[in-house]
Each structure stands twice: as structure tokens, then as C-alpha cells.
Amino acid sequence: MQWKAFTIAGVIAAFFAATAQPAQVQDWSGAERDILKSFWIGSLPPLAKDPSNHVGDNANAAKLGHKLFFDKRLSGNGEVACATCHQPDKAFTDGLPLAQGMGAVPRHSPTIIGTAYSPWFFWDGRKDSQWSQALGPMESPVEHGGTRTHFAKILVSDPAYHKAYEDIFGVLPDLLDNRRFPSAAAPIDDATARAAWTGMTAADRQTITRIYSNMGKAISAYERLILPGPSRFDRYVEAVLNDDANAQEQFFNKDEIDGLRLFIGKGNCTQCHNGPLLTNNDFHNTGLSSIADTPEDVGRAAGVKSAKTDEFSCLSQFSDADDGDCGELKFAKVTGAELVGSFKTPTLRNLTQTAPYMHAGQLSTLVAVIEFYNRAPTAKLGHSELLPLDLTAREVGQMEKFLLTLDGPISAPRDYLAPPR
């Protein structure tokens, strides 16, 4: 009887051992574990100071920036705010192929999450700081369509803004004299606004532009707090690094693991999508110009030239950086065939909320994106860096399943994910 009990117990134990053996537990090599760890959100270093923005980590500046970010008065028609295209509930994108402000924008709205880590901004990298980026759309006729005198006057006339600004940046001048400070003046293409701008004294233009640049710095102080939270992928990597088989099984299924293997192997994805934000924040031509109806756009080739001469660059008078802090701008590559038709590598975090994809929103689904890279069509503009991947339909599906695991919460103060009260 005792033997039988042992036998039955043994068989049962063996049965459970067999069924409990997790099919998902993979034997990642040491090199692979290193790679996975490099993509893990725990490898994201604390956000370094932005030397060009002395209020980048100032809590009051972030509070002011939060208000400015959602304020539709900061536009030519009173209907466009930063949050129009960067909506918190869409991972700070807008769900549209091409952004829509006061007019049609020829590019897709990228997310803001984690962009404080990037040395370059916009798809073409025409700005070299987050605060300088924030100022671009505000005077673009197809985005906010405003002017810097209009914005400065709002800051001065709104008591809450007035106080908040002065607490951070010091005394705001009186801008009530409309002859000295026209209500719509800026160095932009619009002839009337430009004429009004050139009619101002150099000192008054300087006064206004200083206020305008400080608005960008406050917006950046807010945006610097919009960071990615841990995704299911990050939990899986933690489980791998901890050799926790149960957790590995809990967080990733077989297809997702196979997709991850393709991602770091055959898919060649990690050439550009690397680091904890899954982007090298650099510029690449992936042949997107081959897609029908893609707006003709040389991308980085023009963007870097703009950045070099931008009035709010790291080396500009409005930057708080020392010359030695501006390495990205000083050593930026300004010539080379690779720049033509190149666009910034986007993060792959929160992809379910950031469709459609690519710089002009040309591809509406992740499968379409993977299939595009699988085919690697010849670029119509410049040269694509891609080669066909030879992925099977099943592998495309696995890759998609893996990419969907990169969704995570936004790590930010809760109040900052909604309009200010």
C-alpha cells in the first residue's frame, strides 16, 4: 500500500512538474540579457539637467508650463494649444496622420513622453532643446499661428500668469503701449506681423523675445516631467534578470518572446531603436518617401541647417548654456548623403496610443509598419538604410505582439495629465 501511495504521488508530481514547466521560459544568453537590460526602463538614467534652461527643474516653472501647455489663448484664433496635438489621453499625440492646427501641418504629431532625453527635436531635428522646440509651433502659421508680442501681452495681462512669471523669471515689463508693442508682431513670414516687428526698437524686440523664450523654458519644465512608466516588457526583463521563471511566464507568452527575439535579431530593429526609450534619437532614411502621397520632405538635411542658425539654439543669447554644453549642435553633421530624407527615430513605447505611424502618419497599423520594413522599398528621396528582412507572416505577427508589450503608463504627477484646474 505504501508503495502504491509513493507511486501515485510520484506520478502526480511528475505530471505537475511536466505541465508546470513553463513553455515561455527562455534561455537568454549572457549577451542577450545585456541587450534586454539595455532596453529596460530601469536602465534609463535620471534625467540630466538641461544646461540651456536654468528653470528646467524648477517646480514653479513646471506649474506655469502646464498652464501654458493647455492654454488655447496662445494662438492666432484662440483655439489651438500645445495640447491640441499633444493630448495626454493619446500618449501626447493626436491620433491623426498629419497634425492639424490653424492649418494643415505636413508632419505627424510625435509624443512628448520621454523626449526630454533627446538632444534633437522635431522629426527633422531643427531644434536642439525642448524649450526651443516649444516655441516653434507657437509662431507657425499652420499650428498656433500666434506672435510673440501677443503671447507676451497675455502673460502680462493675466494676473495669475503675471505673478507666476515674475516669481520665476523676475519683473515683467509694462507692455501696454501698443505703438511700442504691437499686438501681433513677430519675425515670421506674415508680412504684417514682420513689418510690425521690424518697426519695434531692438531693445523692445529683445524684451519680448526674452519673455517668449522664458515661456518655452516653462513649457519644457512641465514636459520634462512627462516620462514613460514601466511596461509589461520591462516587467518581463526584470523577471529574466532575476531568473524568475514564474514571473517570466506571467508577463510574456511564446509569441511575444519570439517577437522579442526577432526584434533584437533578424528584424535589425535595434540598430536605431535602442536604449531604454527604444530610440537612438538620431536620423535615418528608411525609404518612407516611397509611400504614395508622402509629402516631399528632405528631413534632417534641412533640419540641421535650421538648428545651426536657430535664434533659440544652445549657442544663442537666449540659452543659459555655456559653449562647452552645446556639443550636439557644435559637432552636428551638416553635410552627407545620409541626411537627405532622414527623420528622427521615434520611441517605441506606447505604440497602441500613437498610431498612425511615421513622420507623416503614412502607415496606420503596426503590421503595416513591420511589413514596410520587411519589404524595405527603395527611397524616392535619398537612400534607404534598410535591406529586406525576409520575415514570414507569422514572424510579422510575433513582432507586432512584442511591440504591443511596450505600452506603459505615463510617469508624471497625475494633475499634469489633465488641463489645469
Binding site: 535579431g265 536605431c272 538604410e385
Partner: protein, 189 residues
């Protein structure tokens, strides 16, 4: 415990091991597998003088511009960071100021130039180029010497690699009538 019980337990363990999937072989494809056959690198033209020694130094622009991207990294890749230049005119070494060298980080290097006998050279004109031999693309930034540090040392600023894999750094050095170059390889994870 009875012998039979022992056998059952042994069978139990055997069953576990037989059901454990074999370790998956490391299938890490080098992540730098693509090439672009018609991609050409354009490098800034180097300053310096033509070589009067009878040797023809390699062209000054782009170390890959005359070559198609290579398919594989050589197994015996020379990773030395201290070498004689191609035609033996200079002894050159490069030391990263970021250790270990990591991708996506702007950083500097210290370049050391001397005569083959070890005499430091402080008046060299230096050009820096490079790229990924397997991809056919150049460096993503334009590094340059920003400062002479004395004793044959130079500060190179503005290096940022943007992907893992095999990178080349080509240093072209000119002094007086002598121009020569040296290429270093490094493999980043």
C-alpha cells in the same frame, strides 16, 4: 524509504529534466547586418600636403567611399587602439574619455601622435572620419580636434555612436610634407 519509492522519485527527476527544453542557442544575429550597396560616404576633405615620399596615401575623403559595405566583420579584427599609420609615418593612439564607450553618448577622445621613434608631434593637422563598414554609413556627427594638449596629445570632441556594432575611426594626420592615416576599429555593444 523503500527501493521502489526511490525509483519513483528518481523517475520524477528524470521526467523533469527530459521535459525541460534544451537551452536555446544564442541566436544573436549581429545587429548590423544590412548594407547599402550604393551608399557613399562623403567626408570633409582633409587639409595637409601631398606626400613627397613616393608613397601615395589613401584618399582623404571617406574611408569607405571607394568600397562597398562589407558583409561580415573579420574574425581577426584588429582592435588595437595604438598603431603605426598606414605608411609608417606616425605612431598614433586613441583613448576614449568615456569608459566604456557607449552608444548615444556624446564624448571625447584623446589622440596621441608621435614619430615612429616616439617623439611627440604637437603641430599635426588632424581630420577625423569613420563609419560602419557593414552599413556603408559615416559617423553621425562631425568630430574634430578642438585643442592641442601638449606632448603629442590632442583633444577630439564630438564623437557619438548611434548603434551597436563595428565602427571605424579613420584619423588622417598631416605635418609639413608628410600625410598619412590610420584606421581604428571598435565594436560596441
Amino acid at each position: 524509504m523503500s527501493r521502489f519509492g526511490t525509483l519513483v522519485i528518481a523517475a520524477f527527476f528524470v521526467s523533469i529534466f527530459s521535459l525541460t527544453p534544451p537551452p536555446v542557442a544564442a541566436k544573436m544575429a549581429a545587429s548590423d547586418g544590412h548594407t547599402s550597396s550604393d551608399e557613399k560616404m562623403k567626408m570633409p576633405k582633409a587639409h595637409g600636403h601631398s606626400d613627397h615620399s613616393g608613397h601615395k596615401p589613401t584618399k582623404m575623403h571617406g574611408d569607405h567611399s571607394e568600397q562597398k559595405p562589407v558583409k561580415k566583420m573579420p574574425k581577426d579584427l584588429d582592435m588595437a587602439m595604438d598603431k603605426l599609420s598606414e605608411h609608417g609615418k606616425y605612431k598614433v593612439s586613441m583613448t576614449s574619455r568615456l569608459n566604456p564607450v557607449a552608444i548615444n553618448k556624446m564624448h571625447g577622445w584623446t589622440l596621441q601622435v608621435s614619430k615612429p621613434d616616439g617623439t611627440p608631434i604637437d603641430d599635426a593637422k588632424v581630420k577625423i572620419a569613420g563609419g560602419m563598414p557593414m552599413h556603408g554609413h559615416a559617423l553621425p556627427t562631425m568630430p574634430r580636434v578642438t585643442k592641442g594638449l601638449g606632448e603629442g596629445k590632442y583633444l577630439v570632441e564630438g564623437v557619438r555612436f548611434n548603434m551597436a556594432g563595428w565602427w571605424k575611426l579613420k584619423i588622417t594626420i598631416g605635418t609639413g610634407h608628410h600625410m598619412d592615416n590610420v584606421t581604428f576599429s571598435l565594436v560596441l555593444k
